[in-house]
């Protein structure tokens, strides 16, 4: 019979969608913060690569809390790079022009790499300033 031969796993309705996969991530973050302090090594966890439910993500965000800095990047859709309540841990969300979440990371870093200006871009800025001054 059609559906009978397909294993059905009955999930009791009304359970909150916590999978239990989020708490171990806190340990993982602790390890990464240690590495950041000891060796200055920044790193990231790709949240879309992990089996996390929306409830898990909400739990994690809630636990990590909100920090002092929130960065918004406007580049082909909005990205947010927000410090959590644990300094050195950043919650990074990339959205496309339609506003859909494309990828999501937790970064352990003093400053997320994406926030820093690249020397080549700074050079362009310098040239622009110079051209403005000579045009005055």
């Amino acid at each position: 019979m059609a559906r009978d031969s397909i294993p059905l796993h009955v999930v009791p309705p009304g359970e909150p969608g916590l999978s239990g996969n989020a708490p171990p991530l806190l340990r993982e973050l602790l390890e990464r913060v240690r590495r950041l302090l000891d060796d200055g090594e920044s790193s990231a966890i790709d949240l879309s690569a992990l089996p996390l439910t929306p409830a898990d993500l909400a739990w994690l965000r809630d636990k990590l809390g909100t920090g002092e800095i929130a960065v918004t990047l406007h580049a082909h859709g909005e990205s947010t790079l927000n410090e959590t309540g644990c300094p050195g841990i950043w919650w990074v969300t990339h959205r496309n022009e339609q506003g859909a979440v494309m990828s999501q990371f937790i970064e352990a870093a003093f400053v997320p790499e994406l926030v820093k200006a690249h020397p080549r871009d700074v050079l362009t800025g310098q040239e622009y300033l110079e051209s403005m001054i000579s045009g005055c």
């Binding site: 559906r3 082909h76 990828s103």
Partner: protein
Amino acid sequence: MQGSLIDTLARQGVTRRAFLKYCATLASMMALPPAAGRAMAEAMAAAKRPSVIWLPFQECTGCTESITRSHSPTLEGMIFDMISLDYQETLMAAAGHQAEEALRHAMKENAGKYLLIVDGSIPLGQDGAYSCIGGRSNVDLLKEAAQGAAAVIAVGTCASFGGIPKANPNPTGAVSVSDLVQDKPVVNIPGCPPIPVVMTGVLAHYLTFGSLPELDDKKRPKSFFGETIHDRCYRRPFYDQGKFARTFDDEGARQGWCLFELGCKGPVTHNACATVKWNGGTSWPVESGHGCLGCSEPDFWDGGGFYKALSVPADPLKFVAASSVVGAGVGAAVGFANRASKNAARSAHETTTLADLEK
């Protein structure tokens, strides 16, 4: 191209951060570690653009549409800045003899190094006369072009598996690229049409690591085709609870329950729609209330009807077997699933009638 890719992109208004962000997302979609996003960005920004020859065979141009029109200005379009697209009939300005000359030139100049992209199946009937370009049959052209290629990328289900031209009774004798090309690496990017980011991912991987990504047993990149639609479907909890929509407008459909009984082929279909979605992440078929057709699997057109529930366990390897099961002994299984055994399919390739839709 003058200067690095980054400079070219900057001229088009794509900033460095936008590029980095895109690479981070691409790496994530390809299940590469986050550090790979940065490596990809660096490698691609500095890469020498590989020559790409794109041959369209027996196809509807839907694949080209999917890939070139994916985003308003240029995110997937950026890929065309990463490669030197030396021949693409639909996009190139040259036509006629000029175009054929460009093809010959690109093949000679980059012999052994170019990437060959193919969309469309290859008809073998009547000595290949069913589809010709510049007086030469597709099969001839493919064999010649594949000889000098570093790798062949079959875009779309037609090039990957024969697709709709190969549907029963396959009047033109259509075959897939890998049926004909056996001595070169072949990557299949099936889908009707294929998801654009898979194409970008394969090219980005090639530019970054100098190699093709890991493939499954049907030559599809594992990072995008490793899981079934069903594995990642947001309606999955309803399937697990046994809550099914039974018509397209019943209470279950309104509640967003599982579309299995309405013929969803998600359990046996490997593709990334459930995670990558379509139209810039707007939605995807199941989210729009329609079951998956199984378009990235071989012979999806002959799977026994889009609106007939699957009759076999959700085992991905059984897809081909499933269609023959339907053909052989359609009895109880399909009949039960459709609750209308009188309408049970008599053969694997019956016509879908209104009655099938209404069930």
